[in-house]
């Protein structure tokens, strides 16, 4: 059995190998890592060659693999697949990698289950758990190898008992590029890492009527040492923030999540379920977030926000 790890960044590739080692101890699998020459820096490739606990590190070599291009990458991986019939392809869960995983699924006719929560091997069957219906349900699927997977969250550490041989192989591959031409790339100011690492988060929704109303909330966030973000609606429609919290945006795990007027759409709630505590401040007693909250305040948020500002200013003065 072969598990093949593919990621569009080195940090995630490391995590994939950790995850694969965990799976490999149940399945006795070999672990392969695929790298794309020119896409990864030479220093990154050297680091992987020396440090990663895998059986084979395969460097796919074609000048067309310089930039991320799903068509070029998928065709190059097929060349590898012709030689090594991988049983599990494990991808990281960036948008780009999931797109690549899906194209590979189509090209090699192997099913893909992406963003999975759990993978279990039970009595010769493969059982996969994955979020369902906006993330407030789990679906359990039965499937078989070969399989393409991406995990929602990857193991950060795992002490493997096996020291793998780290054989290095460079493969010259044929490939071709996509027919999609990129005209322009606009970098957004999305605070993904900041939100993922935040201990306190204030999250706002469309109950906040005007962007200028955020001023007080930023002041509260500043006093509390909290990050501030929003629902998908405020990000994509009103463009108030470049990122949003939720299943399709950033999944957060703060000590406390403070929802200000959050309605609690399943797709948002699924992104906050790893919060240690959830405080929901809402005007709507039927808001869906209530079911998932530790503390619930039903009030007029436009009355409580100025009071919070006043009290925090005062407490800072005394401090």
């Amino acid at each position: 059995m072969i598990i093949t790890c593919i990621a569009d960044n080195i940090e995630d590739l490391n995590k994939l190998v950790i995850q694969s080692n965990k799976i490999a101890e149940i399945t006795n699998a070999e672990i392969h890592v695929i790298l794309f020459k020119y896409y990864f820096k030479e220093a990154e490739i050297e680091r992987i060659k020396n440090e990663i606990n895998a059986n084979k590190i395969i460097l796919l070599n074609n000048i067309l693999l310089m930039k991320y291009d799903y068509e070029a990458f998928a065709n190059a991986i097929i060349e590898y697949y012709k030689k090594y019939k991988s049983d599990i392809f494990l991808f990281n869960n960036s948008i780009a990698s999931k797109e690549l995983a899906t194209i590979l699924s189509s090209k090699i006719n192997v099913p893909a289950l992406l963003d999975i929560k759990e993978l279990n091997f039970i009595e010769g069957k493969i059982i996969v758990k994955k979020e369902f219906a906006g993330g407030v349900y789990y679906a359990e699927y039965e499937t078989s190898l070969p399989l393409i997977l991406s995990f929602l969250e990857l193991e950060e550490t795992y002490n493997s008992k096996i020291n793998r041989s780290k054989q290095f192989e460079e493969m010259l591959v044929n490939t071709n590029v996509s027919r999609v031409i990129i005209r322009h790339v606009k970098k957004l100011n999305a605070r993904i890492k900041e939100l993922r690492n935040a201990k306190r988060i204030i999250c706002v929704d469309e109950a906040i009527r005007e962007k200028t109303d955020l001023k007080d909330l930023f002041e509260i966030a500043n006093y509390l040492g909290a990050e501030i973000s929003c629902s998908r609606f405020l990000s994509t429609r009103r463009k108030w923030f470049d990122e949003w919290i939720g299943i399709s945006g950033v999944r957060v795990k703060p000590d406390i999540y403070i929802g200000m007027g959050i309605s609690g759409e399943p797709f948002h709630v699924a992104g906050i379920l790893n919060s240690k505590k959830i405080l929901a401040i809402t005007t709507d007693p039927e808001s869906e977030i209530i079911e998932f909250a530790d503390y619930i305040v039903i009030c007029d948020i436009y009355k409580i926000i100025p009071k919070l500002v006043k009290r925090l200013r005062k407490s800072i003065r005394y401090a």
Partner: protein
């Protein structure tokens, strides 16, 4: 411009809140609704027609009618008893057969994911099987001569890209404001709906697989306190809120 859009019926059972707004058992997948609205807008601006395809059954016909109420010209229901239990790769096979059975399309539009299974693969696989370029995660789309230009959203970028027609666009739910036609509008739709089966598409049941079998669905249970904070005035409430926040280390 000839545009095909694929819509998926979603059971209301896992989206309880929506029962307040509809009498139907199935509703249109939200990103697919955005796709239909966008297709209708493109045809209004550049001319042409929109055909909406749905894999489903008669009980889900309101979903196809909803697409027609939104302005699509005609609907095609692809129905067959075996279709109930097939995987994404097989669904893509059916869609590819349906596209090939039709007059050529310039643009084929999919929603980026279905809100129940959240697999998010169908449009990309169909594009690959048809040998067409695709642009995914589309938040804006327009036509320039023989090209379709899209803005694609990633985690931290907006990428403007183009592909020559025919092409596949996979759009996000953000593309259009949510608009759901009223029940009366859906029921009174009087536009052509064709019904196709596997035989008509030239597919045999044994060509379709189900390598991913759904075993069980369970609601996530969270042990949360669900403690309501009562208050006499907003001064008192502000103090209580700050105390709760400060307790969490």
């Amino acid at each position: 411009m000839r545009i095909a859009v694929f819509v998926k019926p979603i059971s209301i059972n896992y989206f309880e809140k929506r029962k307040k707004y509809t009498k139907f058992e199935f509703f249109m997948n939200d990103p697919d609704r955005g796709a239909v609205i966008e297709a209708v807008k493109l045809v209004k601006n550049y001319g042409g027609e929109v055909n909406v395809f749905m894999i489903g059954n008669e009980a889900q016909l309101n979903v196809l009618k909803e697409a027609l109420a939104l302005g699509a010209n005609s609907g095609i229901l692809i129905s067959d008893p075996i279709i109930e239990n097939i995987d994404t790769l097989s669904k893509a096979k059916i869609i590819v057969a349906a596209i090939k059975k039709s007059k050529p399309y310039d643009v084929i539009i999919f929603g980026d994911t279905s809100i129940d299974t959240m697999h998010g693969q169908l449009g990309i696989i169909v594009a690959d099987k048809l040998g067409l370029p695709h642009i995914s995660n589309v938040v804006r789309i327009w036509n320039e001569d023989s090209k379709i230009v899209c803005e694609k959203r990633t985690e931290d970028k907006i990428i403007t890209c183009e592909a020559r027609m025919p092409m596949v666009a996979i759009v996000t739910v953000d593309l259009n404001p949510e608009y759901i036609p009223k029940t009366e509008e859906i029921e009174s739709v009087n536009k052509p709906i064709l019904k196709w089966d596997l035989k008509y598409l030239g597919l045999k049941p044994e060509e379709l697989t189900n390598k991913i079998k759904l075993r069980n669905i369970e609601r996530i249970v969270q042990n949360r306190e669900r403690k309501f904070i009562y208050f006499n005035d907003y001064e008192e409430l502000s103090e209580k809120i700050i105390n709760i926040i400060n307790q969490q280390k």
